[in-house]
């Protein structure tokens, strides 16, 4: 398929269960990407779905998938050697910034933040990460963040590990105690809404990864529109200030 170099049929190289019904999968394509960008992964006869790139190496690219329905179930069921079709990367990634960045992940939201943490670590930023989940066995990629030197705190909604409460609540507490010059987040919408508010109130610049239904992924169908922006082309990473503006106009969330 030389005519469309962005479309790659790739072989699965590795698969590892990193949390309850959550898998880290590496495939043999080398993609030049920015943290926060995503790919569209096609599971034949089922669906094609967006996945953030969560890790990479010299000879592979990887995603981390949380099983929530039919397509993610199929993706979580691939075996080493299976073929999947990947196209991308698409969208606009995070802009790494700040000497003391705070990363806040809710659930599988840790996936796009991991390569950002790696990039920030390379810039010698003093990273603090909050990884939240509903319960202990759903915490994703916490060791990976620690291994990059991020000071990592965890939160669980049910108190089974770490802070008892949501990642957003822990974020509020943390921002009250320590100084940060940037906040990056990805997770459920209520979490993003809260963090937008925390960042605005404390005058901290930041970005969030936003989810919308993706069809084309290439900015032509309008499925992922928020106002006049397209999540697949202008996002999925948006400045918190912009999200605040959209939120106040009732155009998002």
């Amino acid at each position: 398929m030389t005519d469309n170099p962005g479309y790659l049929v790739s072989k699965v190289l590795s698969k590892e269960e990193v949390a309850h019904r959550c898998f880290k999968i590496g495939f043999d394509s080398i993609l030049k990407f920015q943290p926060g960008q995503f790919v569209m992964i096609w599971l034949p006869d089922i669906d094609e779905i967006p996945m953030s790139i969560s890790h990479s190496g010299p000879d592979f690219t990887g995603i981390t998938v949380k099983i929530v329905g039919e397509a993610t179930e199929a993706l979580g069921s691939v075996s080493k050697g299976d073929r999947i079709r990947v196209r991308g990367p698409y969208g606009k990634g995070f802009e790494p910034s700040g000497e003391r960045p705070l990363l806040v992940a809710g659930g599988i939201g840790a996936a796009p933040l991991l390569p950002l943490a790696k990039q920030l670590a390379g810039r010698k930023s003093k990273i603090r990460a909050i990884i939240g989940a509903r319960t202990q066995n759903e915490l994703v990629l916490t060791d990976e963040f620690s291994d990059l030197g991020a000071e990592t705190e965890i939160s669980t909604d049910d108190g089974s590990a770490g802070f008892h409460g949501t990642a957003a609540e822990l974020c509020r507490e943390t921002v009250g105690k320590l100084e940060f010059d940037s906040i990056y987040c990805c997770g459920p919408e209520p979490m993003i809404v809260t963090i937008v508010e925390i960042a605005q109130r404390n005058g901290i610049w930041g970005q969030a990864s936003v989810e919308k239904m993706m069809k084309c992924g290439i900015g032509i169908c309008g499925s992922c529109a928020i106002s006049d922006r397209l999540v697949c082309r202008d996002g999925p990473i948006f400045d918190l200030a912009h999200l605040d503006e959209l939120h106040s106009m009732n155009k998002i969330f």
Partner: protein, 303 residues
């Protein structure tokens, strides 16, 4: 030399002959406005039906350098919701055309009336989507249905009625004439060409719906031929579409007989700014070739 690219289409003035084609980002009021900001003379909404519709399963697109396939399957929020979206355009200086699809004349008419009420300057009948069962090209490739549906709509609304034709036929002129007989004020040619792609390493068709529609550069010669043939046979204006990426592409369509042009797939690469770019290139062409009015280009390729 002063050149003018203003056009008059069924009695309404457009600041230039370019339009946003239906289905390309026309899903929200803000996106339609961004096309106007990008320089479009008019914008066509996504095709809207009576009820919300999810469309086909992904993958819904497949790209080539020379074009793309789509099998979105007319996903849309339904007219009830879309009417609210369009109300955000009230009071804005915008020439918008409401695109609708249905399964028969009464459904088309009902939707057209709603579009008229929502402030549409004209209504475009999608008689040509090649990948939706019982809709679009499935009814739009039969001249009799085209005439009946066009007539039903034309007798229900005051605003101009535009029939969008399918190239997936051996005789597009018969479809154009049927639309004209039915009372259409203009036709659009072309919608996408029925096509498919196969992913050899997975041994599968590459679109969820298997069959989709080809658009972009690859279809320009087909679009030009359709407009050329229609111009010879019809009295009503023709709006050209298919693979227009530059001012020169647009000029070719005008010379084939188009009064205006629609741009879709090319937005993939360049965004909405492409409209201003195309207009500037049309003006450059007119200056260098000595034409004052863009209308003077119309049909020049005919004897």
């Amino acid at each position: 030399m002063n050149v003018s690219i203003e056009v008059e289409l069924f009695g309404q003035r457009m600041k230039n002959p370019t339009m946003l084609a239906s289905g390309i980002l026309g899903t929200t009021a803000d996106l339609l406005l961004s096309a106007v900001k990008g320089g479009a003379g008019a914008v066509v909404t996504k095709s809207i039906g009576k009820k919300p519709r999810d469309g086909h399963a992904n993958p819904t697109v497949f790209e080539y350098n020379c074009g793309m396939l789509n099998a979105l399957g007319l996903p849309n929020p339904g007219i009830d919701h879309f009417e609210k979206e369009l109300s955000k355009l009230k009071g804005k200086e915008i020439f918008f055309i409401g695109s609708v699809f249905g399964s028969d004349g009464s459904e088309f008419s009902e939707l057209a009336v709603r579009m008229e009420r929502a402030g549409a300057s004209a209504v475009e009948l999608n008689l040509s989507c090649p990948h939706a069962k019982g809709l679009g090209a499935e009814i739009g490739s039969d001249p009799e249905s085209v005439e009946i549906i066009t007539q039903a709509v034309a007798s229900s609304v005051e605003i101009p009625v535009i029939a969008k034709l399918t190239p997936n036929t051996s005789d597009i002129v018969a479809l154009g004439k049927a639309a004209e007989r039915g009372g259409a004020d203009a036709v659009v040619a072309i919608n996408t060409l029925k096509a498919m792609a196969i992913e050899p390493y997975l041994r599968k068709p590459a679109l969820g719906n298997v069959i989709g529609g080809l658009s972009g550069q690859a279809v320009k010669p087909v679009g030009l031929r359709c407009v050329y043939e229609l111009y010879e046979a019809l009295d009503i204006p023709i709006i050209g579409a298919g693979g227009i990426e530059s001012g020169i592409d647009a000029v070719e369509y005008l010379m084939a007989g188009a009064s205006a042009v629609q741009v879709g797939t090319a937005i993939r690469g360049k965004g909405m700014a492409i409209f201003a770019e195309i207009c500037a290139e049309i003006e450059d062409f007119m200056r260098s070739e000595g034409y004052k009015e863009v209308g003077d280009l119309r049909g020049l390729a005919h004897d």
